[in-house]
């Protein structure tokens, strides 16, 4: 039975992180990784055990484990209580297993770094926060750990804090997330105002009633929550922080900014199924934002040359797929894609990290190419990851993406988003293989300071394990209604989506499969035709299409636009406030202090420092006292 030991899952990494943070600098030093690896490993083992137990439960399998009373003031009750249902179990396993692999990989990748222990302490803290986030049983707890993972993300992006670009990227991630979290906070406050509780079960039970009396309110709440999800999961228009987040070390990109943290938004929207499914508008918005983001990010990824940036845009694009799935009512397909994506995207990022490790931190495709012989493990594992990402048949990404496309194409009113998804799938195949061919095929060249590119055994093993995951992770949901779908369907949150009837049957599963295979094949073939044998053709095409290429290279000038619309006016406002503080408020304060200052100045005139003057004054005073005494 699931009992209090469930708390060990988040607490083991926390303890490891705490001890590593305390003792790392002086005692553990280059052995700092062991504690966090042990913590993550115990979490992973327990998480898998929890999954097995949950799978054994029948019916609505939500189990609650009390922690302690946290907040109880004037009707607001928020206890630290774990909620374990199939959705939680799947998230726990995904997070802890990927985290374990990434931590092991980091042992090789971060070796010799001055902040070695700090890195592992942060990672442990992140794993704790993320696991607590998925275990949360009320909105307040969810919000706290939502912020906690944001903090860890900030710390890890800014890990190389001496590098100005990393510090700026960390700040940007934090600030952009602030915008999303503002919406999220308002959503939670609205929920509390109308339901007088923040507990998931109680809130979700009240939603159907509220939806009857006040449907607009439900839409508002859902949209507010979705703004939070957009911030965390890097959707339009708040995606701008994620590509910059690649300034962090590669394992961080793999764990935090691809596999786990950024999926928190998808998780939250699925968890709040009761709210979202009661608002058709909100569902449509989720689906459209997801679909458009998927296409938008994919187009940017077409021309980028930094491998990690390509992967970052592809992450945004894949997250868009997940939201598209949830928005068209296929929440289990969204979570399925989240789960497979965690494996193949972590694999791709770690492989990119392996390239960086071999190439002395050079990752730009303009500087490297044709490396398949130099780093064979990386080459093969990257290829597997790329195939899975592109949605090549029989690999994990194929199954999950197919389900999303099928759900979207069959939606009664939003099937055009399905076609957007199909187009995106073709682009995904193209840019993934463009990246693969440019990095590993064609003429071999590398930066001048690299003489003997090498790979590290521990990193290779992790890549191999993840490659196995990227191939086989999809088989948990084979067929029309696979194990994962029926398992997730037992979660009340996911069930809400499953109960929606938004299917207008147009396409059979097989038809969708063929469409998807066809576009993927076209994308891959196109990539091979242009980049397979060298880059001359690509340059020729680039010259022909200069204008659109420039727009895409500059990422549609979104960053510049935000700079112009938000950052500069805000900075001006800040300067203005600073000026008024400096001039206006300070001068008022100066005027107030002028009174005691002038009094003091008058007083100080008597303080000549002349002993005899003092004596005379004393004499004078004495005389006055005597005269007064004599008069009375």
């Amino acid at each position: 039975m699931i009992k209090e030991w469930i708390w060990l899952i988040p607490l083991m990494p926390l303890l490891a992180s705490f001890v590593t943070g305390l003792l790392g600098a002086k005692v553990l030093k280059d052995k700092s990784h062991w504690l966090v690896i042990a913590g993550a490993a115990s979490s992973a083992v327990l998480a898998i055990y929890v999954l097995c137990l949950t799978n054994g439960n029948s019916g609505d399998a939500a189990v609650f484990v009390d922690g302690f009373e946290w907040i109880n003031i004037g009707g607001l009750v928020s206890n630290v209580k774990a909620m374990i249902d199939p959705l939680t179990a799947v998230m726990l396993v995904t997070v802890s297993v990927v985290a374990l692999l990434v931590v092991i990989y980091s042992k090789g990748y971060m070796a010799g770094d001055t902040g070695y222990f700090r890195f592992f302490a942060y990672l442990g803290l992140f794993i704790f926060s993320m696991l607590m986030l998925v275990l949360s049983s009320n909105f307040l707890m969810l919000y706290v750990f939502w912020e906690a993972v944001g903090l860890c993300s900030y710390l890890l992006i800014g890990f190389y804090y001496k590098k100005p670009s990393a510090a700026a990227a960390a700040k940007k991630a934090f600030l952009v997330n602030r915008v999303g979290d503002f919406g999220f906070a308002i959503g939670i406050l609205l929920i509390y105002l109308n339901c007088h509780t923040v507990d998931f079960t109680q809130v979700f039970a009240m939603i159907p009633e509220l939806a009857k009396t006040n449907p607009g309110l439900i839409t508002t709440i859902a949209l507010c929550l979705f703004v939070g999800a957009c911030g965390k999961s890097a959707q339009l228009p708040l995606y701008v922080w994620l590509p910059d987040a690649m300034e962090g070390p590669s394992p961080v990109s793999a764990l935090v900014h691809a596999a786990t943290m950024v999926t928190a938004g998808v998780y939250m929207v699925v968890r709040c199924g009761a709210i979202f499914t009661h608002s058709g508008t909100a569902m449509t918005v989720v689906a459209i934002v997801g679909g458009i983001t998927a296409l938008f990010a994919a187009t940017i990824a077409l021309v980028q040359t930094d491998i990690k940036r390509i992967l970052a845009y592809s992450t945004i694009s894949q997250l868009g797929y997940m939201f598209l799935a949830v928005g068209v009512g296929a929440a289990s397909a969204g979570i399925f894609h989240l789960y497979t994506h965690a494996f193949f995207k972590a694999l791709l990022f770690l492989a990119a990290g392996s390239i960086m490790h071999a190439m002395h931190d050079h990752i730009d495709l303009k500087e490297i190419g044709g490396l398949r012989k130099d780093i064979p493990w990386t080459h093969w594992t990257f290829l597997i990851g790329a195939l899975a990402l592109a949605g090549c048949p029989l690999l994990s990404g194929f199954f999950s993406k197919d389900e999303i496309l099928a759900a979207a194409l069959n939606h009664e009113s939003l099937s055009w988003l399905g076609w957007v998804g199909v187009l995106t799938a073709g682009m995904t195949a193209f840019y993934t293989f463009r990246c693969y061919f440019m990095a590993f095929h064609g003429p071999r060249f590398m930066p001048k300071d690299v003489h003997h590119p090498h790979e590290t055994p521990v990193m290779n093993y992790v890549l191999a394990v993840l490659a196995v995951g990227a191939i086989f992770a999809g088989y948990v949901n084979m067929g029309e209604h696979g194990w994962l779908e029926s398992f997730l369907g037992r979660s009340a949150s996911v069930e809400n989506y499953a109960k929606l009837h938004v299917r207008g049957h147009h396409f059979g599963h097989t038809t969708v499969m063929f469409i998807s295979i066809a576009v993927v094949a076209i994308g891959m073939a196109l990539a091979y035709a242009i980049y397979g044998k060298g880059r001359e053709k690509a340059e020729k095409i680039a010259r022909a299409l200069q204008a659109p290429q420039k727009v895409l290279l500059n990422k549609y000038y979104v960053d510049e636009g935000y700079d112009y619309i938000f950052i500069r006016p805000l900075r001006k406002l800040g300067d203005y406030c600073f000026g008024s503080d400096n001039k206006c408020i300070d001068s008022i304060l100066w005027a107030i202090t002028a009174v005691p200052r002038s009094l003091g100045f008058v007083g100080s005139l008597f303080q000549q420092g002349m002993l005899q003057t003092y004596a005379l004054m004393m004499l004078f005073g004495l005389a006055v006292i005597f005269i007064i005494a004599l008069m009375y």
Binding site: L605, G609, M610
Partner: protein, 105 residues
């Protein structure tokens, strides 16, 4: 027996001389001597009043005893004060009290 009022008058004269000297002279040693003079003027009061009480036929010699005490303490104080004056002389090479104005506000 001399009337005690003369003692008190002498004491007052000594005190005023000391006071005027303290207020007008600039040399630290002289100023110090003047404070001694003021002290002795005060002490003379004790002797005078003691005599007054004795002549009335009550009391002992407490005033006289106080005076001896005060003289001893004044001697000790004088030794200390002279040491301080010596240090100040060495430090600033002057004893003009006008030069010591560090406490000016």
């Amino acid at each position: 027996m001399i009337n005690y009022q003369y003692y008190i008058l002498l004491g007052a004269i000594l005190f005023v001389i000391g006071l005027i000297g303290f207020a007008t002279r600039r040399n630290m040693i002289v100023m110090f001597l003047c404070t001694e003079l003021m002290l002795q003027g005060v002490v003379l009061n004790l002797v005078g009043f003691n005599l007054h009480w004795l002549s009335k036929g009550n009391g002992g010699l407490e005033g006289q005893a106080f005076t001896i005490f005060l003289l001893v303490i004044a001697a000790a104080e004088a030794a200390l004060a002279m040491a301080l004056v010596m240090v100040l002389q060495r430090k600033n090479e002057t004893l003009n009290v006008g030069e010591f104005a560090e406490l000016k506000g």
